[in-house]
Symmetry: C2
Subunit: 212 residues, 2 copies
């Protein structure tokens, strides 16, 4: 498998963790989002929609959208499971993942912030305030949606919710968000940081990582 990725892409990062947790080897194909490589003809031939992640399977099928890719991996390589087995519990874990993937990340990603600055004439300070507003309210919602205790968001093993949380926390820190009151999330972050699958998936561990 070949993963089209970018070191700081939260969505690609989620898939990297899933691949690592399931002990699947893959080739990393970096696409430099900040330089616009995703809009190149070469990458559009892989994913016409010009976003990462994209996972090229060995049969040539290209899968897109991080949560769809992770569901595919879960169905095809079931162990270790990234979702519980009981349907209501699965729904709660998926809802927490979607809180980040649908309610925080899309409003805060690079293309939206660039659009805010270029087309709506907002300043970098406006952009930072925008980021903080959605991250803070979204992470508070996430914290209300997970279990009150446990090493991870739901129980003592990582689920797809944690795969979304960890990159989002990196992003929150990068933008200087105050995480006061969200200590439970910081504890989960610390637990994840002890696992090799999360370590190897981290932004700064990628072959295309740059000095900040």
């Amino acid at each position: 498998m070949k993963l089209y990725t970018y070191w700081r892409s939260s969505a690609a990062w989620r898939v990297r963790i899933a691949l690592n947790l399931k002990n699947l080897s893959y080739q990393s194909a970096p696409v430099h989002l900040a330089r616009g490589e995703q809009r190149s003809d070469a990458f559009r031939a892989v994913n016409p929609n010009a976003v990462v992640p994209a996972l090229a399977l060995d049969d040539g099928t290209v899968l897109t959208q991080s949560l769809a890719i992770i569901e595919y991996l879960e169905e095809t390589y079931p162990l270790p499971a990234l979702l519980p087995s009981e349907p209501r519990q699965r729904a709660k874990v998926r809802a927490a993942a979607q809180l980040i993937a649908c309610d925080i990340h899309p409003i805060n990603n690079l293309r939206v912030v660039e659009h805010l600055k270029s087309s709506l004439g907002r300043t970098p300070e406006d952009a930072a305030a925008w980021m903080h507003h959605w991250m803070r309210s979204g992470l508070e919602a996430y914290a209300r949606s997970i279990d009150a205790a446990g090493r991870f968001s739901f129980g003592d093993a990582p689920t797809v919710a944690d795969l979304c949380l960890i990159p989002q926390l990196y992003n929150a820190r990068r933008w200087g968000l105050d995480l006061a009151g969200l200590e439970r999330l910081a504890e989960i972050d610390a637990a994840a940081a002890t696992l090799p699958a999360f370590q190897a998936a981290a932004a700064t561990a990628q072959p295309d990582a740059e000095a900040s």
Copy 2:
């Protein structure tokens, strides 16, 4: 089951279609988003995160996030199926659904547009341009991601992708988006409009619908 809903909420609408297609009866509990009822203590007791849809099961469990709810319904009431059976095909359908649920809808929903106007001081015209930009690019991406033919986005029966598409097209028309070049999507919309499950789920068919 009791569905907390709002007539114009795209996300609640997706769940209404799923419930109807699976022939599941439910009680409709309208929450007036435009008047802020989602922030009432009464509704926060149901969903602390103050968003619709929320589906209260008969055992009292409350499920949130439209795609997580639909996956729950799919796992619990498998027929008619809203996802194909083959994992790669399932991934493609889920990716198309997420293109709308994660890449278009969150950037265009009421709370984001209100924030754009109130906190960033943008005019209604700015808001409309914002809506059009993301809807148009997102719907073009969707059109590239689905099958080239068939009554629905993938084959001749509706999938979760269509459940996301139909409310998004209503929203696009409401905001006056030019759908030129997206005729395939308009054809799917017309096919859906012939099915009672889609008719009964439409915004204007809801008990809380208002004159536009």
